[in-house]
């Protein structure tokens, strides 16, 4: 039972660490260039932290997709892969299944989790809504990494309407 909490603590520290290390490095020239320049530097750093988190999640997802479907048989189609993500992967990482999976059958899937374990400790409503996306970047990476190992190139984004429910949108990139 304590194992789930270890990952939550580690994740919280990861987000805190990556965010703490980009206070705006030179406020001087930024200030003289106007709010646009200084604001641009700050935002650029935040975007990089989000993509660093997502990259970490990507590598973890790749390894998990290799290790998890060991005895299960080969996946026949895309929907099978998404179902595997919602059931087996989510249970392995968060000890619960995804609450709902919807699709438009044209390459877009929406995975909804009504009580996301990484957000459930923060609030249950609209407080801290702006801070929530940082805590979802790593998980988006896990989804994208797992899909990529299983042969599906995709783009994963997350959105929060009200904590702790969140939606992950997976768009399959067919080229």
């Amino acid at each position: 039972m304590a194992d789930a909490v270890l990952f939550e603590f580690l994740h919280t520290e990861m987000v805190a660490e990556l965010w703490a290390q980009d206070p705006d490095p030179d406020p001087g020239p930024g200030v003289s260039a106007g709010p646009g320049g200084g604001g641009g530097g700050g935002w650029g750093g935040q975007k990089m932290s989000l993509s660093v988190l997502e990259g970490m999640g990507f590598r973890v997802g790749q390894a998990m997709a290799e290790r998890l479907p060991r005895e299960t048989l080969a996946f026949r189609e895309e929907l099978d892969v998404l179902k595997f993500l919602c059931k087996d992967l989510w249970v392995a990482v968060f000890q619960k299944q995804m609450d709902s999976l919807r699709t438009n059958h044209q390459g877009t899937y929406v995975l909804q989790d009504n009580s996301f374990p990484l957000l459930i400790r923060m609030s249950s409503g609209l407080q801290y809504l702006e801070e929530a996306p940082k805590f979802l970047a790593f998980t988006c990476g896990i989804l994208r990494g797992a899909l990529s190992t299983l042969g599906i190139k995709s783009l994963v984004t997350a959105s929060v309407a009200a904590l702790p429910a969140c939606k992950f949108q997976v768009v399959i990139q067919r080229c």
Binding site: R59, Q62, A63, A65, E66, R67, P69, R70, T72, L73, A74, F75, R76, T149, L150, G151
Partner: protein
């Protein structure tokens, strides 16, 4: 028991290939390369035939007069190909399956290694020693 073991990536380039009698390496490389066609054929046949038994183990790919070639595909489309000596008739199907299972487990460990970038050649010594243990019975 195996004479040659190869791990082939999704894009059909070798991640790891090793054969025991060091002289005829090229012949084994060629055999593995030609067996990839058979693997692809089996994998696509599995998709079309509505067989419930979607197995990872592909079985005997093709026999030659000296050697037999076995295949196994993982869910991430990484293929393992094993060439065994035909004279070793005591080798049963479950033994081959268990060898592939050990290979799959070791490959998963390699993937989970943070120092390994997916897509690079496998240089892990642990993987090497596991493959040696599978090949060393040939004398």
């Amino acid at each position: 028991m195996a004479v040659c073991v190869a791990v082939i990536a999704k894009e059909n380039y070798p991640l790891y290939i090793r054969s025991v009698p060091m002289e005829n390496e090229l012949k084994f490389h060629y055999m593995v390369h030609t067996s990839l066609d058979v693997v692809d054929e089996k994998v696509s046949a599995m998709g079309k035939a509505l067989v419930d038994q979607r197995e990872l183990y592909l079985g005997l790919l093709y026999p030659t007069e000296d050697y037999k070639v076995y295949g196994y595909v993982t869910n991430s489309k990484v293929k393992f190909v094993m060439v065994v000596d035909s004279s070793n008739t005591a080798l049963r199907d479950n033994e081959i399956r268990s060898m592939f299972r050990k290979l799959h487990n070791s490959y998963t460990d390699v993937m989970c290694n943070p120092f390994y970038n997916p897509g690079d050649r496998i240089q892990s010594r642990a993987f090497d020693s596991m493959v040696t243990s599978m090949m060393i019975q040939v004398c």
